[in-house]
Symmetry: C2
Subunit: 488 residues, 2 copies
C-alpha cells in the first residue's frame, strides 16, 4: 500500500467491524444509570449544587461498600498469607495462623504469588467438598468435581461456553428466569446462544411454575435446541427462596426434558423469612433417588461475594459439577487451564468460608458474633424494605425472603410512559433516572432484568445501614408520590 | 416424556454435543506432560520408587514456586490492605502504610472486599498512566485508556473477542508468531478466528522478518480477513528482545497493512543480555510521528506475574489501548462490566508495581536490593542455561536475552522420530515425556508452541535456583546423550 494509503487510513476496529455478538451484550447492573451516578458523584465532589448531598448506590450487591464489616478472622488469615512474617506476631490468634500455614503449604514455594492447579488448590477443593457434605446432610461430594472460579460469574460463563453449539434451529437454547440476573443474558448474547425466557410468578412470591417452564420450552423447541435450565435460588433480583417441593418439581422437569441444570446458589446463607429454608439442588436431587441422582447433570455455583462475608472484590468462587460426562470434564479442565488459575487470595478466602473457626478454637465466638450481627441486620433490613415499600400507594413488594434485593412493582402513570416512549426510554429507566437526578438514589430499572410486558419494577439492594436505608426508603416514597402526582 | 424416557436418559452434554470450538483449544503449558508430572509427584509421595527423588517443574513461568522471594514492601502493603488493623502496628514502615491507606481510600467502604469500577480503581489507573509516561520518556498516557485486567491473559482474550467477526473468507484472521505462547492459539480457536502463523527467524536469534510477515499475510488474505498482529516482546517462549529498528519496521508494516497491533510486553523488566534494551511499542510508535502515532491502533499488555515480582497468583494486569475508536471503547467498557471487576488484591499489587518505593522513602533501599538480587540471579541463570545447553551435542540454544525461558533446538534421531510416530506422538512430546519419566524434569515440547516443520525444541524456564538449575541442566545433558545413543 502506498504512503497515500497510510495517510487515508481508517480504523481497523469500528462499531461496524467489531464482533456483533459483543454488541448485543447488555448488563444493566452497571449500565447507563450507574454511569450517570458516577458522573453525579464527580459533579458533587467538584462542588456542583444538587438536590442531594450524596449518591446512594443501591444498584449492586456490594456489601462492604455499603458499610458491612468483613469477618475479622478471614482478614487475619489473608494478612498472614500475604505477609508470612506475621506468623511470628503474637497478636494473631493461633487458629488464624494454623489456617494460614495450611493454605501456604498448599501453594508452590509457600507463596500466594504462585500459580495453583487450574482447577484450584487441592486442599481448598477438599474443604469445599466437606462443606457441601455437611450442608447436604452427608450426600457425598468428590473434590474432583469442584472447580474453583474467579467469582461465580466466571463459572457460569465457562459452563455455558462448554454447552453452546449448533446453528439455526439446532442452536443451543438456555432457559433463564424472567426477571433474571443479567449476567445470564449477557453471556448468552456473547455466545450467540438462544435465550429462552420463563416467567416467575409474581403473584405467588416469584415462585417457579412447572406449567410456565413447559410453555417456554415447548415454544422454544420450534426454533432452537433447549439444553439447559438456569435457576437462581435464593432469587436475584427477586429475593424469593424456593420450597423443597418446587425444587423437586424442577429437577423432575429437567430430567424428563433432558436439560442440564445450572443452580446459582450464591445466596445460600442469605435466608431471612420465617418458614423459609435453603435447600440445595444437589441435596434434593439425591433425596429423589438414583433414578435422578445418577443421571441428572447439575452444576451448582457458590461465591465469596455474598452471604455474611460479602467479599466481592476478591473474586472467589467454586462450582460443583454432578453427573458430568468424563470426556466433557476433561475438556472443562483443559479449558480452565488456559486462564492458568483463579486468583489465589480468592481461593484462600473460599477456603475460609467453607472451613470457618470451629467450636473451641480461639476465633470461634467472635466469628459467630460477627456473622450473626451481619445476618440479623440483613434480615431486619429485608423486613424493613418490604414494609416501607408496601406503604407506598402504587408500589407493591413481595417479601424479601432471601438474597439481598427487593424487586417491587411500580405503577407508572400513562403520561410518564408516554414521555419515556417519546424519549426512546423504557418507562422504568425513565423513572429510575429521574429518581437518581432528584434524590441521588441509584437503582436498576426492572427492564434490565426482564419483566412481564406492561409491568414495571426496580431492583434495590437492602444493603445500606439501617438508618440510611430508612432515609432512602422515605426518599423513594416521597419521590414516587411526587412523580405520580406530576404525571397524573 | 414417559418414566421410560427418564430411565433411558442419555447425557445432555457429551463430547459429541459440546461446543466444537472448545474442543479445538490446546494449551501445552498445562498439557499432558504436566498432568503426568502431577501424577508422578503423587506417586513419589505415596512412596513409589522412581529414578529421581523430585519432580522439577521447569514448564511454566511460576517464579515463587521455584523459590523466588516476593518483594517485602508489596506484601506488607497487601497485608495492611487485607487487615487494616495493622495500620496501628508500629513494625510496618510508614511508606507501606501510606500506600495501603491510599489504596483503601479508593475502595468502597475502605475495603478490598468491595467491587471496584469495572475498568479498575481510578487511582491505580492514574498510577499506571504515570508509570507508562516515565517508562516512555514522557509520551502522554491517559488513565482512561488503561483497563486493569485479571492477569494479562484476560486482557488479551478480551481484545481478541472484540475483534473477531465475519464468516468464511471474511472471517477475522490474527497473525501470531511461531513459536508462540499458546494462550493465543487457544483463544483464537475458542473464538473461531483464523490463526495466521508468521515464523520467527531462529538463525537470527528469533527475530521478526518483515518479509516473513508479508508472506504470511499475503497467503492469509486468500482465505480470511487479517485484522491484527500479535507480538510478544521480550519473547515467550523464545527469550529474544526486539531491537528498536525491528519494532519500527513492524509498526510501519501494521500501518501499511491496516492491522491492529497487540503488544504482549509482560516481560518488560526481564532483559538480561548486554546491548539489549526494552523498547515499548508505544514509545517507538510516538517517536515515528503523528502519521503513525495518530492512527495505528495499539494495545499493550502488562502483568504482575513476571519481571522481578513474579506474583502470578494474584492475577493482576493492565492493558493500554491507543487510538481506539470511541464507540468500540464504550463497547469494551460494557463488555468488561459483565465480569464486574478484576480481583482487587491484584489491582493493589499492580499499583505497587507501577508505584514502588521512591528514593528517600523508608522501604526504598530494601526494595532496590531485593529487585536487584532477583534480576541479577535471573540474568546469571539466563547465561548459565544458554552456556550449558550449547555444550550438549545435538542441542543448540539462542541467547536468552530476556523473559524467563530458553527454547533450544534439539536433534532427535530418526529411530526416535519413528517410534514417536508409531505411538501417534509428536517427536518432541515423546522426548519430553521420556525425560520426565527418567529424570523428573518437566519441560514443554516445542510442538506446543509451534515450530518450523522438521525441527524440534523444548521450552525450559530459567527459574530454578542456580544450584538446582545446574543439576537440572546436567541431567538434561545426560538424558540427551543417553537418548541419542539409545536411538542411534
Amino acid at each position: 500500500m502506498s504512503e497515500n494509503g497510510v495517510l487515508s487510513r481508517a480504523k481497523v476496529l469500528t462499531i461496524d467491524t467489531m464482533n456483533p455478538t459483543v454488541k448485543k451484550v447488555e448488563y444493566a447492573v452497571r449500565g447507563p444509570i450507574v454511569l450517570r451516578a458516577v458522573e453525579l458523584e464527580r459533579e458533587l465532589s467538584e462542588g456542583m449544587k444538587k438536590p442531594f448531598s450524596e449518591v446512594i448506590k443501591a444498584n449492586i450487591g456490594d456489601a462492604h461498600a455499603m458499610g458491612q464489616q468483613p469477618i475479622t478472622f478471614f482478614r487475619q488469615v489473608l494478612a498472614l498469607c500475604s505477609y508470612p512474617e506475621l506468623l511470628n506476631d503474637s497478636t494473631f490468634p493461633e487458629d488464624a495462623k494454623s489456617r494460614a500455614r495450611r493454605i501456604l503449604q498448599s501453594c508452590g514455594g509457600n507463596s500466594m504469588g504462585s500459580y495453583t492447579a487450574s482447577q484450584g488448590i487441592d486442599s481448598v477443593r477438599q474443604d469445599v467438598a466437606r462443606y457441601i457434605e455437611r450442608r447436604d446432610g452427608g450426600v457425598p461430594c468428590d473434590p474432583d468435581d469442584i472447580y474453583l472460579t474467579t467469582g461465580a460469574s466466571d463459572g457460569i460463563v465457562t459452563m455455558l461456553k462448554l454447552l453452546v453449539c449448533g446453528e439455526g434451529a439446532t442452536r443451543t437454547g438456555v432457559m433463564i428466569s424472567i426477571p433474571q440476573y443479567p449476567l445470564y443474558s449477557a453471556a448468552l448474547a456473547e455466545l450467540g446462544a438462544v435465550q429462552i425466557n420463563y416467567y416467575l410468578n409474581e403473584e405467588k412470591c416469584w415462585s417457579m411454575d412447572i406449567s410456565e417452564l413447559q410453555r417456554a420450552l415447548d415454544e422454544a423447541r420450534r426454533h432452537c435446541n433447549p439444553r439447559a435450565l438456569c435457576v437462581i435460588n435464593p432469587g436475584n433480583p427477586t429475593g424469593q427462596v424456593q420450597s423443597r417441593q418446587c425444587i423437586e418439581d424442577v429437577i423432575r422437569f429437567a430430567a424428563n426434558e433432558r436439560l442440564l441444570l445450572m443452580a446459582d446458589e450464591v445466596y445460600q446463607d442469605n435466608v431471612y423469612a420465617e418458614g423459609c429454608q435453603f435447600h440445595s439442588f444437589k441435596k434434593v436431587l439425591f433425596e429423589m433417588g438414583p433414578e435422578y441422582s445418577d443421571t441428572v447433570e447439575l452444576v451448582s455455583f457458590h461465591s465469596t461475594s455474598k452471604c455474611y462475608m460479602g467479599e466481592c472484590g476478591f473474586r472467589g468462587g467454586y462450582m460443583e459439577i454432578i453427573n458430568m460426562d468424563d470426556e466433557v470434564k476433561a475438556q472443562l479442565t483443559k479449558l480452565v487451564s488456559v486462564r492458568l488459575c483463579p486468583p489465589v487470595p480468592g481461593q484462600a478466602l473460599m477456603d475460609l468460608v467453607v472451613n470457618p473457626p470451629q467450636p473451641g478454637e480461639p476465633s470461634h465466638d467472635n466469628f459467630i458474633k460477627e456473622r450473626t450481627i451481619t445476618l440479623s441486620a440483613l434480615a431486619e433490613k429485608a423486613k424493613l424494605t418490604e414494609q416501607v415499600l408496601n406503604t407506598i400507594q402504587g408500589i407493591s413488594c413481595n417479601p424479601v425472603q432471601g438474597a439481598m434485593y427487593s424487586f417491587p412493582r411500580i405503577t407508572i402513570p400513562e403520561k410518564a410512559i408516554q414521555e419515556a416512549m417519546d424519549k426512546g426510554q423504557e418507562p422504568d429507566m425513565f423513572y429510575c433516572m429521574k429518581m437518581l437526578e432528584e434524590t441521588g438514589i441509584c437503582l436498576v430499572p426492572g427492564s434490565g432484568f426482564g419483566q412481564t410486558d406492561g409491568t414495571y419494577h426496580f431492583r434495590m439492594t437492602i444493603l445500606p445501614p439501617t438508618d440510611k436505608l430508612t432515609i432512602l426508603l422515605n426518599k423513594v416514597k416521597e419521590f414516587h408520590q411526587k412523580f405520580t402526582q406530576q404525571y397524573s
